[in-house]
């Protein structure tokens, strides 16, 4: 019974949690609820992934209405993996949130925080699992609106402006998506993704479909924060509470990438996306610029949180680059980096959250000499940074390996150079922090600072170790990513 309803439960459980959370009063109740919900979701998504790997694509008719009339939940290898990422990261971040959020948010707001938090996760999981285009829009808005709330809860007053800007841009992006979906419906008369894919097969020269394509790609890129549609990201990440930043960086943009993948490959197909409309050229250009500009901007930041935000823009560029190479290796690299970047960025933001917990600042000048006071925190940060650079034995290395292979396979040397330059720039910005923390003499006020509490360190280190583990044993990540890439390409009509 539970087994059959797995896909629905993954979305329904956090949704119920979001409704119940505000009722649990002002104590730690909401947090416990969030913990239970997130770990349950994690277990379920793990189960779902093993099932999909064993039996192939699962289809689930929501409410018993058979697709295409009802809403279909459809789980294949790709979204099973993304589901697992979202569930795993949110579970770890929830554990972390207890202390971190309690410090950054007023106690009377805590229950609403957890409500919005669970709602956000609901939306992200829903986007990933749904097989219905309009449903995707609704869930996107559910996750976005709760994200605006979460960002606005940040301690500094600038958080409100950041949230407002994100809201404006996010709503425009979502509305673009809505219009695009409308055009698709106009052209095909269906909203089910599988149906859409079938009917769009012969419509690549239809003008309505082309407009739909443009609207949807722009909308999804906004959510993904692909250059030049990234303007909302730095402020939102900088001013949001630490736990929220980690969650957003690791999951929200990944789901954005998923939307892009789903529309480009499954729905529009290779013929339309790449042979006729050459989306790959546009995305490649945007991604290349994102890698370089994002990294350069990261180097110039004094606030480490903002630095990591810009680094995210660069890393999103890597993901998009892999996707736009449109080959099995490239696509695997993109999906793999989606997974790996979630791990490393979450680890980095959590480590930074530990710092913020102790010193209430993330400015690089306030970090001077702190490594002696907080050795575990900065060891975690350094490890995450090494992964970001792509040092062997970390997940970052595996991503870079595949990305580079994919570009060399195609013989596109300029891209290979961009990937490498991006890595080198990452060395610069990571090392700025390392030097500040390890080599600069600490300020007088830093003498009284202690290591972050275990409640924050354990989740952080869990992610750091995951970074190392998936850098060595890549069966799960590489295996699933390659299989998903193959399936996507096969369903989209072979190699162009």
């Amino acid at each position: 019974m539970i087994g059959d309803n797995l896909p629905a439960l993954i979305v329904v459980i956090p949704l119920l949690g979001a409704v119940i959370a505000p009722l649990l009063g002002r104590g730690q109740g909401p947090w416990w609820l969030a913990t239970v919900v997130c770990s349950t979701v994690l277990a379920l998504s793990g189960l779902l992934l093993t099932r999909v790997l064993a039996h192939g694509t699962l289809s689930y008719a929501l409410g018993g209405w058979v697709p295409p009339i009802g809403i279909e939940y459809r789980v294949d290898r790709l979204n099973a993996l993304v589901l697992l990422i979202v569930a795993a990261i949110s579970a770890v971040v929830t554990l972390y949130a207890r202390l971190s959020v309690a410090k950054e948010i007023a106690p009377e707001r805590l229950r609403f925080f957890y409500s919005a938090y669970l709602m956000c996760i609901t939306g992200l999981l829903g986007i990933t699992i749904t097989g219905d285009a309009f449903n995707l829009y609704v869930l996107l808005e559910i996750s976005s609106i709760s994200t605006y709330i979460l960002v606005a809860l940040g301690r500094q007053p600038q958080a409100l402006r950041a949230s407002f800007n994100y809201l404006v841009l996010g709503t425009i992006g979502a509305t673009f998506l809505l219009i695009g979906i409308g055009y698709l419906y106009l052209a095909t008369g269906t909203l089910n993704m599988t149906d859409l894919a079938v009917r769009l097969g012969e419509m690549s020269h239809n003008r309505t479909v082309r407009s739909a394509f443009a609207f949807i790609i722009v909308g999804a890129s906004l959510k993904l924060a692909l250059f030049p549609l990234h303007a909302w990201l730095p402020n939102a990440y900088t001013y949001a509470p630490s736990a929220v930043t980690a969650l957003l960086a690791a999951t929200a943009t990944k789901v954005g990438a998923y939307i892009l993948l789903r529309f480009l490959f499954t729905i529009f197909g290779l013929e339309l996306s790449f042979a006729t409309l050459r989306a790959d050229v546009v995305i490649l250009l945007a991604a290349s610029v994102a890698v370089i500009v994002g990294s350069l901007a990261a180097i110039r930041q004094d606030d480490v949180k903002r630095m990591l935000a810009y680094s995210s823009i660069a890393q999103i560029g890597y993901i998009a680059l892999g996707i736009a190479l449109v080959s099995v290796t490239g696509l695997s690299a993109g999906i793999l980096h989606l997974f790996n970047h979630a791990l490393m960025k979450a680890a980095l933001f959590l480590a930074l959250g530990c710092v913020a917990y102790r010193i209430n600042s993330t400015n690089i000048r306030d970090l001077h000499g702190l490594a002696r006071r907080m050795p575990w925190t900065f060891a975690a940060f350094t490890a995450g940074g090494l992964s970001l650079i792509g040092v062997p034995l970390t997940t970052g290395f595996i991503s870079k390996w595949y990305l580079l292979r994919a570009t060399i396979e195609r013989g596109w040397w300029p891209l290979a150079i961009i990937i490498i330059v991006g890595s080198l720039l990452a060395v610069v910005y990571v090392w700025r922090v390392v030097e500040a923390a390890y080599f600069h003499p600490p300020a007088e006020s830093a003498k009284a600072i202690h290591e972050a509490p275990a409640g924050l360190l354990l989740p952080t280190w869990a992610l750091v170790l995951a970074n190392v583990y998936f850098g060595i044993d890549t069966q799960l990540s590489v295996g699933t990513a390659t299989a998903a890439a193959r399936a996507l390409l096969a369903a989209a009509g072979g190699t162009p």
């Binding site: 500094q156 600038q158 409100l160 425009i172 509305t175």
Partner: protein, 119 residues
């Protein structure tokens, strides 16, 4: 091509651009929110238009009806309206909070000056 016959599509595009302009050009945050509302509403108009069937009546079971409009876009847009209302609510709440924190809702004034202390 029937240019005039597609007037509601023209209107949707024009409305949308007016909204978009307000979002970009107006420094006042409330005006931005209004622009955003226009932008979204224009999209709803578009959806409702695509459900339109010539000579169709509202999709309510009624004995005299010859044919009905397509009900699906209408239903979809109900959902989208709910979404839009919640977005609006959050946006306005944010504007109120910004006013409290900065003492202004003119974005050009806020961005230049340091925020007041958080109470």
């Amino acid at each position: 091509m029937d240019w005039i016959g597609h007037y509601n599509y023209w209107i949707y595009v024009v409305l949308m651009m007016i909204g978009f302009y307000a979002v970009i050009a107006k420094p006042n945050l409330v005006k931005k929110v209004i622009g955003l509302g226009l932008f979204q509403t224009a999209a709803f108009l578009f959806y409702i238009s695509i459900g339109m069937v010539d000579d169709g009546t509202a999709p309510i079971v009624w004995g005299h009806a010859v044919r009905y409009s397509n009900p699906l876009p209408h239903v979809l847009i109900l959902t989208a309206i709910v979404v839009s209302v919640s977005t609006m609510a959050v946006a306005l709440a944010l504007v109120v909070a910004i006013h409290r924190a900065h003492g202004s809702i003119e974005s050009n004034l806020i961005d230049g000056s340091p925020p007041k202390k958080h109470e």
